[in-house]
């Protein structure tokens, strides 16, 4: 899992990444120095929960991915079936190009989690 996170961090513009449980408990992380793992896990989970709840009211379905854009950077939250992949990137990064690669690595992470659960 850590190797895949390191691979994710090699994508241009990516500042760090982590896998956490749906309730926001960090499982594995490769975040840049100075970024508080607990803080990212807590607020990613809060944000994701809030977006999911609203989406559920709109369509009855939870989103597969959520992108938060802010002045100083972006945060991508990808559903891994029971866990969440959080990827921090530079602000203003063209998300479409890196997103395909992130999605592909997310699928591989999802596979690892499935193996661990079974």
């Amino acid at each position: 899992m850590n190797r895949l996170l390191e691979k994710l961090n090699e994508i241009p513009g990516v500042l760090g990444s982590m896998v956490m449980t749906d309730d926001g408990i960090p499982v594995a992380s490769r975040l840049s120095e100075g970024i508080d793992e607990e803080c990212v896990a807590a607020f990613s989970s809060t944000a994701r929960l809030a977006v999911n709840r609203t989406a559920m009211h709109c369509s009855g379905e939870e989103p597969e991915e959520v992108i938060l854009e802010a002045e100083g950077g972006n945060l991508l939250l990808v559903n891994l079936d029971g866990a969440t992949l959080a990827v921090m990137t530079h602000a203003g990064l063209e998300l479409n190009t890196g997103l395909l690669e992130i999605r592909s690595l997310a699928r591989r992470l999802s596979g690892i989690l499935e193996i661990r659960i079974s």
Binding site: D36, A42, H57, C58, G73
Partner: protein, 346 residues
């Protein structure tokens, strides 16, 4: 009613006396009682009584200081045996106990690594999560640090999920909910303890606080945190709500800086649950990005089988829009970033 039944209905003396320690102005008596318990060797009872007291009389510096002393002296006394236990028969519970003791003695990095070791050793044992949660809960209570409160909530939810009947986890979660001024939720959490032990100090603290705190009108814990932080709840006045003209395939809502729904498109869900979700969404996102070191929130996009949901920040308020068709994401984004024609109606 027979003599036996009436006797059984009467609260026991100890229960009566304990309840008196939670009435207004009983802080000194509670402190003395805790001291008596501690002096006769009932350290756990003394600690539990003081913990409940710090919630009942929050903010109560004298109680906090006494609790701190008791917890530290208990941790100091047990440290050697806890270290032996970890060395001789390593288990998740031993690692969690050592973590809790180190935390009380101020060794936070040691405490964190032993708590994580406990979780790694047995991820299904609640003790490791509880040890971490206790440290955060203490910080939340003493320093009014909402981030610590949020951390405590995550770890306590996990611990309670793993062992729903764990008394200490339930007590800690109830403490957090009472500090968030949510007596109804705390009472639900404490139900298993109330049934078997009505004179438990935290149950008595809850009883006392229920008389003072109005029942909360939300079951959403994120909303409770937002209210605690901002000191206000969204008003959501339907009579002043305005209309946003929007293409038929888009549902649109505008939430103002007080997290109240002030306008929406024709046919968009304005039910209570949706309104509360939008309030929480706005508050949570504005709070999340600066605290993660990303700066001011500007926009979110959520994609899934249910379509696309986009939110756009607008000087403290937020415009949220949903479309069932993902293929319309670009049009929805473009429309949101235009003036949306709202000003002509409002």
């Amino acid at each position: 009613m027979g003599i036996i039944e009436s006797w059984m209905k009467r609260p026991r003396n100890s229960e009566e006396h304990l309840a008196e320690l939670f009435v207004p102005g009983a802080e000194t008596r509670l402190l003395e009682r805790a001291q008596q318990l501690d002096e006769r060797g009932d350290h756990l009872d003394a600690t539990q009584l003081l913990r409940a007291g710090t919630v009942r009389f929050y903010p109560w510096n004298e109680g906090e200081a006494a609790l701190d002393r008791y917890e530290r002296s208990r941790a100091r006394a047990s440290l050697a045996s806890l270290q032996d236990a970890v060395d001789s028969r390593y288990s998740a519970a031993d690692a969690a106990n050592l973590s809790a003791a180190l935390n009380r003695l101020g060794d936070s990095s040691g405490a964190t690594s032993w708590a994580h070791a406990a979780i790694e050793e047995d991820p299904c044992n609640p003790e490791g999560y509880l040890a971490i949660a206790r440290g955060f809960l203490r910080r939340f209570r003493r320093e009014d640090d909402s981030v610590a409160g949020l951390h405590a909530l995550r770890y306590l939810s996990k611990a309670c999920q793993l062992d729903p009947g764990h008394g200490e986890c339930l007590r800690a979660l109830a403490m957090l909910l009472l500090l968030l001024a949510a007596p109804v939720a705390a009472s639900k959490v404490l139900r298993p303890i109330t049934r078997v032990s009505p004179s438990d100090p935290i149950v008595l603290a809850l009883d006392a606080l229920t008389k003072i705190l109005p029942p909360e009108n939300t079951t959403n814990v994120q909303e409770l945190f937002l209210r605690w932080e901002t000191g206000s709840a969204p008003t959501n006045d339907e009579t002043t709500r305005q209309m946003i003209p929007a293409p038929g395939e888009f549902d649109v809502w505008e939430i103002d800086a007080t997290r109240s729904l002030v306008a929406c498109s024709d046919g968009a869900d304005q039910g209570q649950q949706m309104t509360e979700s939008l309030s929480v969404l706005t508050g949570s996102l504005y709070q999340a990005t600066p605290r993660m070191g990303l700066g001011e929130f500007s926009r979110f996009t959520a994609r899934g089988p249910g379509g696309v949901l986009i939110g756009l920040a607008e000087s403290g308020s937020m415009i949220v829009s949903h479309c069932n068709r993902r293929s319309l994401e670009s049009s929805l984004g473009r429309w949101l970033e235009s003036d949306r024609g709202r000003e002509t109606i409002r």
